[in-house]
């Protein structure tokens, strides 16, 4: 029984035997494992004969885009942490689109995983989770302050509660085809440049690829685009401010870009579509995390060396971007192993340098002290893909041009609902498809937004 985990089938067979032993020992007929650790996945530590680890910890998180990260997390980090702390760590991975469903189900069932991960801060679940302040302070005492981005995303100033801890965020650059843009003598330095270049690029069969669909990439891109023009969904006091002349101007600008430089497929996209648009060689520019460059590298696509990474183009109001996704862990009030969960989370964030490296620089630490930007830049510069050093700009993007959803306010439940209902992409799409004028669309969206904010204000969350 002292063998190394061999792979999913081998280890789950062995664990099933362990289960049987447990059952026989307990003499129970009904297996009362209300959602806590029944280790079926292959995240088992090296087991010595007869020894069982004392504590338990169950974690659920997404299937990371970079498989190497999950390898590191499941097979190195968790087992080592488990050994050191005498805790049996059990990690489950599910598709990120299913995390919301699972969260609702676990809360409804009042039983589930001790540590719950999602790619966006689950502000509306504030009442179901503990106050994570102690974890934040623990981490800050070791590696320095919580980054502004992380803090504004996981803290509710009204209830003074940290409803999650963000371990990482992913910067959101533009990924563009240097060869195609060079041919027309342009570069995406500002949105004006993009608008000018768009018709020329489209004429050559390489339109721009910024989606206006009901999916997360469109959400992120368009919300950031709005901010570059000075259009903000809420102000720093979390009051809705969507309807402004800046927003209307931004919507008209994007409609212009669409009409002249994009094709109509952008309205029916899912999160993979803009990537595929790029991988097929069609798109000249998309807004996406570096998965859009890593995949061409791994698939050896002919133009992968021509894919450049730049910060979001600047608008009249400046260069303001959002994170592409933000990893947040929370601990349910009904978790059975809160202490283990708190310690795990703290240790993970404190040692985040290893995580960032394992994710091939996809995950940036929300507690920057864990892996200072200078260090990340050096690691990025060492990346061998052409053009050399292209990933080092990620640190600039992360430091200067990445903000939280709801900037300049905090990420809150109302903002979350605006996000989940894809109100911003719809606002743009209606105008681009000619179903409404920019003014009408923004005004209508504003009234929906106002209702949402009023509702959550009534619930005392803003």
């Amino acid at each position: 029984m002292g063998q190394e985990t061999d792979g999913p089938v081998a280890s789950s067979d062995r664990l099933t035997r362990r289960e049987l032993l447990r059952k026989a020992g307990a003499g129970a007929v009904a297996i009362g494992v209300a959602g806590t650790a029944v280790p079926y996945s292959f995240a088992g530590p090296l087991r010595y004969k007869g020894r069982d680890l004392k504590g338990d910890l169950t974690i659920i998180q997404w299937v990371h885009f970079v498989p190497a990260y999950d390898e590191w997390f499941d097979k190195t980090w968790c087992p080592q942490w488990g050994q050191k702390n005498d805790v049996q760590v059990n990690v489950e991975h599910i598709n990120n689109t299913l995390l919301d469903t699972r969260a609702a189900a676990e809360v409804a069932a009042q039983s589930g995983h001790d540590l719950f991960f999602n790619l966006h801060p689950m502000a509306s679940y504030e009442d179901q989770v503990i106050n994570h302040a102690s974890i934040v302070h623990e981490i800050e005492s070791k590696v320095g302050k919580y980054g502004e981005l992380g803090r504004l995303s996981t803290y509710n100033p009204k209830t003074k509660k940290y409803f999650a801890v963000s371990d990482n965020y992913v910067p959101d650059p533009v990924v563009w085809r240097h060869d195609l843009w060079n041919d027309i003598g342009e570069s995406p330095a500002t949105w004006d440049h993009v608008r000018k270049a768009a018709p020329k690029l489209k004429a050559k069969g390489h339109p721009i690829g910024i989606g206006q669909s009901q999916e997360v990439d469109s959400n992120m891109a368009l919300m950031a685009f709005l901010m570059c023009f000075g259009g903000f969904i809420q102000d720093e006091h979390n009051r809705p401010t969507l309807y402004s002349k800046h927003t209307v101007e931004a919507v008209q600008f994007m409609t212009d870009i669409y009409k002249r430089g994009e094709d109509s497929t952008i309205f029916g996209w899912n999160p993979a579509s803009n990537n595929n648009y790029l991988y097929a060689g069609t798109a000249s520019l998309i807004l996406n995390a570096i998965s859009a460059t890593r995949t061409p590298e791994s698939l050896n696509l002919p133009f992968s060396d021509e894919l450049w990474i730049w910060p979001i183009p600047a608008g009249p109001h400046g260069r303001i971007g959002l994170e592409h996704v933000m990893g947040c862990y929370n601990i349910w009030k009904f978790s059975k192993n809160k202490e283990n969960a708190e310690k795990f989370l703290a240790d993970l964030c404190i040692n985040y340098k290893a995580a960032t490296t394992a994710s091939q620089l996809y995950n940036f630490p929300s507690f920057p002290g864990a892996f200072p930007f200078a260090g990340i830049r050096k690691a990025a510069a060492a990346d061998s893909h052409k053009p050399h050093g292209k990933y080092s700009i990620l640190t600039t993007i992360a430091q200067r041009y990445t903000h939280n959803i709801g900037y300049p306010g905090t990420t809150n439940a109302a903002m979350d609902e605006v996000f989940s209902k894809y109100l911003i992409p719809q606002m743009f799409a209606r105008v681009s498809q000619g179903k409404a004028t920019a003014n009408e669309s923004v005004r209508d969206t504003m009234s929906v937004v106002k209702n949402i904010y009023a509702k959550w204000r009534k619930r005392g969350k803003i």
């Binding site: 809360v107 679940y125 179903k435």
Partner: protein, 308 residues
């Protein structure tokens, strides 16, 4: 009863089991128990939730009375979702009825290759719908859609302006209707086939003797006899389609800008993604009375039309 007399010393229990009512109750009770606990209890809870402002998975909340329902009725997206649900259900099932009806008639007689054709027709039903819906994402892919390729090669579409399967309201609606019809046809065909085959040979012969053939025979003889079975197949098709969210959810997620949002997907987005459980429950429950009316109405009509 003649039984009890014949058997003499039966216990009262055994005697009771001979009574139709008792036996019936006994035989039905496991089913009632199952359905009662696993459908009834959650349903009651869901109804309760729809009257509260429960959020984020919580199963309790503040009582709101009918607020969730009236807010829904005033919400334009909800009204559109109601209309889309109607369109989605009626059009897809109309297609299914016609296609399944034709196929059933074609497949009832034996012919060379029938086995192979039946196998192919059954495939959409055998494949798990969650996966085939993802598969259709690939078939409708903006870059690499095979349907686009076909249309371009028979010159029904141009390379510069390929069909935008999931990107415009009308096209997206047609796409999800098509996929829903595609997956339901085998199920309906099998049931219709049973109906067609159940026409006793004597009736067929009698009709032939009376000179009724082809369309006339279909209208006056086949159709009335198949109606009970056909109607129930249609009913299940309607109910399954109206309460199913897989196809619109995976293909369009309600887009573009809510033009393919149906009640189930809207309830899901509101209740789960946005965390408004109470509102989501209210939206999902709206369907119940509407569908109940449809179901009861059709069954009543079926009973009248039954030919036994």
């Amino acid at each position: 009863m003649r039984f009890a007399q014949a058997a003499g010393g039966r216990t009262r229990f055994r005697y009771a089991l001979e009574r139709r009512g008792v036996l019936a109750a006994l035989l039905i009770s496991p089913a009632v128990l199952f359905i009662g606990v696993l459908v009834g209890v959650p349903l009651v809870l869901a109804v309760y939730l729809s009257f509260t402002d429960a959020t984020a998975g919580s199963l309790t909340g503040k009582w709101l009375g009918f607020d969730n329902f009236s807010n829904a009725l005033h919400d334009q997206v909800f009204r559109e979702a109601l209309w889309h649900t109607f369109l989605f259900t009626v059009i897809s099932q109309a297609i299914v009825i016609v296609v399944a009806g034709l196929l059933a008639h074609a497949l009832v007689r034996s012919f060379r290759g029938r086995w192979l054709i039946r196998f192919v027709i059954l495939l959409p039903w055998a494949a798990p719908i969650a996966l085939t819906a993802i598969g259709f994402l690939w078939f409708y892919d903006p870059q690499a859609s095979i349907f686009t390729w076909i249309l371009e090669h028979v010159h029904l579409a141009s390379k510069d302006n390929p069909p935008n399967w999931l990107g415009t309201p009308r096209a997206a609606m047609s796409s999800i209707i098509t996929v829903q019809a595609w997956r339901t046809v085998p199920f309906a065909t099998v049931i219709f086939l049973a109906g067609v085959s159940s026409i006793p040979q004597e009736v067929d012969d009698a009709a032939a003797m009376d000179g009724a053939t082809g369309l006339r025979k279909f209208w006056h003889v086949s159709l009335p006899l198949q109606l009970p079975i056909a109607l129930v197949a249609v009913l299940f098709g309607i109910v399954f389609t109206a309460t199913d969210m897989v196809v619109p959810y995976i293909l369009t997620n309600g887009g573009p800008f809510n033009s393919t949002q149906v009640l189930t997907t809207w309830a899901f987005q509101t209740g789960i993604n946005a965390g408004n459980i109470g509102e989501g429950a209210a939206i999902a429950l709206f369907m119940l009375p509407l569908l109940a009316v449809v179901v009861v109405g059709m069954l009543f009509f079926a009973r009248r039309a039954e030919v036994t």
